[in-house]
């Protein structure tokens, strides 16, 4: 049938070719089983990624033959390279001699399971840890030297830590513009020798892709860090004031937000997230959608166990939350799962709520309901000269009626105390719940904010956070 433009004929292999790690159209029944095996192996090998098998109808209907055909691919190339010892030695020397070293952890640390190694190295070096948005899931937030995620809507103390470091150890991260604001500034600092940049990544193509590091190490994060820990000797020569300065930035930001949100109309996401966090057990898996609520979660949601914060960072696919939360609950039925969603994001996949009852997957969904595509609206307000277009939504639909339609309890709390109480009750009883949280769009401006293309120290901070992000060592 191929090429006859039959019903629903689409060149799906052509469509997904640029966005998959591997795709294969099965042409013979004898290829079907090995194609699935190979696709799964490739998706999990090295740096994980999506694969797609196109299984035509005639192959689906054919009997499974005894014989299997080989799918010619090279999977061996995904085996993690052994980290180069001499490069690790050079990295260790830079780190020990640094005055203000920082460890930047990305999603690769989560995939590699290298949390303990990161913490051990941080303790040895007395180095603050900063993360990317995916890397937020790698480090327990009550670790005293964890400064939080850096970047466009990262935490101020994390932005300051990265921007003022003299040695940066970046592990399992791809140097996204969202983390750095301006890669040009970083590249210039590394080129001039002002910053020593060490980059460890399992994916060779990431090394030097966006910024040329001082030392690049190809290898698995956990293995490389285990070896690095053994190479770090000697008393670190730290700038004693630096950590205190970073913690002071944190204190001032928290105070400013506390004051700002105390008088906010309706719920403020920052304060609401703290209430929800108090209600949720430490091992709760939190999933986000995409939008302003996601950025607030980046700033204000505390992760205590590695891998318990699931968010989509690179592509920003609205509608991610409910399907991902259902998947998390399916994989970990004994764990509480909470979906932190926005009203725009929620409406993209709310039909998936049917699975909550059909498959008994009790998740708690909290909708930060500002009736806007708020993050885009924020850009329209501040970057596009207040031209608000297609980002303000109407009062329809009523999310409590959506909850009722799917046979799920719905609640619209009127206080932070009620919010905390209803979330705690649902999570403890392992019951599904939809919380419609009324958020005032006018006061829902996500700060800190490093505008696109700007350097980390130019982050816009909330009123009252009277602090500069440029370090003065004198």
């Amino acid at each position: 049938m191929f090429g006859k433009d039959g019903f629903q004929e689409t060149d799906i292999v052509g469509v997904v070719t640029p966005i998959t790690k591997f795709t294969y159209q099965v042409r013979k029944a004898s290829e079907a089983v090995p194609a699935f095996r190979v696709a799964y192996e490739i998706s999990m090998a090295g740096r994980p990624g999506p694969t797609l098998i196109d299984l035509p109808r005639d192959v689906q209907a054919a009997p499974v033959p005894d014989r299997e055909d080989e799918i010619p691919v090279n999977i061996a190339k995904y085996a993690p390279p052994r980290p180069d010892e001499s490069k690790l030695l050079a990295a260790a020397r830079y780190l020990v001699e640094a005055r203000r070293p920082v460890i930047l952890v990305g999603g690769g640390v989560v995939w590699s399971g290298a949390t303990l190694e990161v913490l051990e190295l941080s303790r040895l070096l007395l180095a603050p840890v900063v993360s990317t948005l995916p890397g937020k899931a790698a480090v327990p937030h009550d670790y005293p030297l964890y400064m939080g995620p850096a970047g466009m809507h990262g935490r101020a103390e994390a932005d300051a830590a990265l921007a003022n470091a003299d040695v940066i150890l970046a592990v399992g991260t791809r140097f996204s513009d969202r983390t750095w604001g301006s890669l040009d500034v970083l590249a210039e600092r590394v080129r001039s020798g002002r910053v020593k940049l060490i980059h460890i990544d399992i994916d060779r193509s990431e090394l030097g892709k966006n910024v040329k590091p001082t030392v690049e190490v190809a290898g698995d994060a956990r293995e490389a860090l285990q070896r690095l820990v053994k190479l770090v000797h000697g008393a670190p020569m730290r700038d004693q004031k630096y950590l205190s300065w970073l913690l002071e930035i944190r204190r001032k930001y928290e105070e400013a937000m506390s004051e700002l949100t105390a008088s906010t109309k309706a719920f403020h996401p920052w304060r609401a997230l703290k209430a929800i966090r108090r209600a949720a057990p430490r091992d709760t898996i939190a999933v986000t959608g995409v939008g302003a609520h996601q950025m607030w979660a980046e700033i204000a949601w505390d992760v205590y166990e590695p891998g318990t914060f699931i968010t989509s960072a690179g592509l920003g696919p609205m509608g991610f939350c409910i399907p991902a939360a259902l998947g998390a609950k399916l994989a970990a039925r004994d764990r509480p799962v909470i979906c932190l969603d926005g009203d725009g994001s929620f409406q993209m996949t709310m039909h998936s709520l049917a699975l909550v009852r059909d498959y008994n997957l009790p998740i708690v969904v909290v909708i930060f309901d500002n009736r806007a595509l708020q993050l885009v609206k924020q850009w329209q307000l501040y970057i596009y000269n207040k031209r608000i277009i297609a980002t303000q939504l109407s009062s329809r639909p009523d999310f409590l009626k959506i909850a009722e339609a799917y046979d799920i309890d719905g609640v619209r709390p009127e206080s932070y105390e009620e919010l905390e109480r209803v979330v705690m009750r649902a999570l403890r009883r392992d019951e599904p719940l939809i919380v419609d949280l009324t958020v005032d769009s006018e006061s829902d401006i996500v700060l800190p904010w490093v505008k696109p293309g700007e350097w980390l120290t130019s982050a816009m901070l909330p009123p009252g956070a009277d602090v500069k992000l440029v370090y003065d060592s004198d």
Binding site: V13, G14, T17, P18, K21, F22, T23, Y24, Q25, V38, I42, P72, V73, N74, I75, K77, Y78, D203, R204, S205, G208, K209
Partner: protein, 75 residues
């Protein structure tokens, strides 16, 4: 010159082209030769060392690329 070996499949070739079109290089010539069950793809191009290295690294991530040779280095 970048020389790669892929399975004898236009789908595989399409994936190679999909990577090439994102590279900041000037492609001068692409030759595709069938050799038994494989294609040998020879790519002549002009570009900075960084941009050519980017392309080689991205091509080498494709599982269909069974072998890659970029000038004096075999990856």
């Amino acid at each position: 010159m970048i020389s790669i070996v892929i399975p004898r499949s236009l789908d595989s070739l399409g994936r190679v082209i999909a990577v090439m079109r994102r590279a900041k290089v000037d492609v001068v010539q692409v030759r595709v030769l069938a050799e038994g069950r494989t294609y040998r793809v020879c790519i002549e191009l002009n570009g900075t060392h960084d941009n050519v290295s980017w392309l080689v690294a991205k091509l080498d991530k494709l599982p269909e690329v069974l072998k890659i040779d970029a000038g004096d280095r075999e990856v």
